[in-house]
Symmetry: C2
Subunit: 326 residues, 2 copies
Amino acid sequence: MDFSNIIGVIATDLEEVERVIDENIKSPVSLAYEISKYILGSGGKRLRPSVLILCSGVCGLDNGRNRISSAAALELIHTASLLHDDVIDHANLRRGKTSSNIMWGNQVSVLVGDFMLSRALQLVQSCESLELMKIITEATARLAEGQVLEVMSSMAKSEVSEEICFGIIKFKTASLLESCGVVGAIIAAASEKTKNFLGAFGLNVGIAFQLIDDALDYTADEKEIGKGVGQDLIEKKVTLPLVYALREASDVERSYVLKILQDDNSTDGDIPLIIELVDKYEGVNRTRAIAKGYIEKAKEALEHLPQNKYKTALNLLADYILERKS
Amino acid sequence: MDFSNIIGVIATDLEEVERVIDENIKSPVSLAYEISKYILGSGGKRLRPSVLILCSGVCGLDNGRNRISSAAALELIHTASLLHDDVIDHANLRRGKTSSNIMWGNQVSVLVGDFMLSRALQLVQSCESLELMKIITEATARLAEGQVLEVMSSMAKSEVSEEICFGIIKFKTASLLESCGVVGAIIAAASEKTKNFLGAFGLNVGIAFQLIDDALDYTADEKEIGKGVGQDLIEKKVTLPLVYALREASDVERSYVLKILQDDNSTDGDIPLIIELVDKYEGVNRTRAIAKGYIEKAKEALEHLPQNKYKTALNLLADYILERKS
């Protein structure tokens, strides 16, 4: 099912989120607004706002300002992290458009990311709940720690353990989605139990989302995913498809991969051989199978909650995460 | 008077601030802690915590957790902005030590800055006051906008108006110091009037602080200030000493300066000539005279408040800002 169909049930809310985002990135500093608008207009799925608003809906709340404000804030936090990620990765493609650091330079990208993050937190404040504020800044700290962890592990230019990979995934991606579930529940004044179930939904969907991302990096073509295949490898990022493949690889194959990782002058021509190796040892399929397990966990968490159209949408969204091609 | 003498009256509080900072930058991600500790240990004056705690003291509050937590948070926000500033400026010296981006790369510096900022906001939350949170995130947004404005103006590689210079100064530096005054008053449960006076103190001291910084960039030697003279010019940053000098300069002199600003291949050898020009037309002296006016305004704001040892210290601190050599 198409993502836009799944979230059709909250289409009006998501339009309102767009309006609130636009309103809150306005600045007397024209470039801050211009760049924020550019990157936010680059066609993200609005996964985080969708999860948050659907989770509120599951709890029986389908109107009110705070859902919209906090959903907008979480999208801004995510987008700010992309801006800082682009600096980090020397990536020149983001969602298929020229990335902001190529257009405006690293300097401006970093600062506009800071600006967006501050505006996001101001939006959260408008909800006047210390509990919300606490959860969201906690997730923001986790996100930054996850990104540091990822850079540390890529600097090591070596094999990475499955454990470290999952640490990065949880910190960098899953924490923010977990907070979307929790925040959705809090705004709907749901019980502690419900909060935990929706947090678990967000966390597990988040882990699966990143696992599929890592898998797609080995398989998708540029037109679909909006960035080149093997991008992680070019940046010396070892993700789970490679970790699982290396477990099965011969000594010579492992040595070859390590050599490429350690060689600062390795060329893009080395990448296809590693991709072939990952394919040979089913690294992508293993990763997908594990992602499937997390999606199942996410859906199990929903079982405890009352049936309504929002729950149906969350279940479809979980399936979509697994099946997406981009 | 020596800065450490001025703040002697709150020495124990400042030690506690250091302890709280250290406690709050701990992370399961070792590099995040390590870099945070390195940059925080690079000998900053702790101007922001000092202003905040002294302002609380003026209002009659000289104990309690929230002063310490928010003071630590404001220092973390400031330090995070330095980390991002170092990326921006391609600076290789910060406070006389090798800057973090040279040691760990742009990537990690940006992310650790993000981490520190999140931890700062978590600290503010521990004060459980939405008003504090609001003031501090507002100032954080201003800071980022001010940095974007500064980069925009340096990208223009051209003359900058006095108005733009003051805009940058207020957003980038003075807003955060203003918030230190306001937060100090709020924590002490001071009246709205007192809050405004201490906000005005912070704002005016902040403006003067940056003006003197800009002046020192034209005069101080590297050993004293911890970075090379003319650094702003190297980065194509036009500050007030040059703005005032250009008003008096001949057409040929102005054209020469503009040519250097526009020339991406201008060498460090061109800098001494511009410094000479600024000297000839008293650009530094004019800037210092204006800074003096702001310090007077800051001290006037204090006149409305009761006399105590903290007020004495704030007056001395204001004088110090003007006279400092580094």
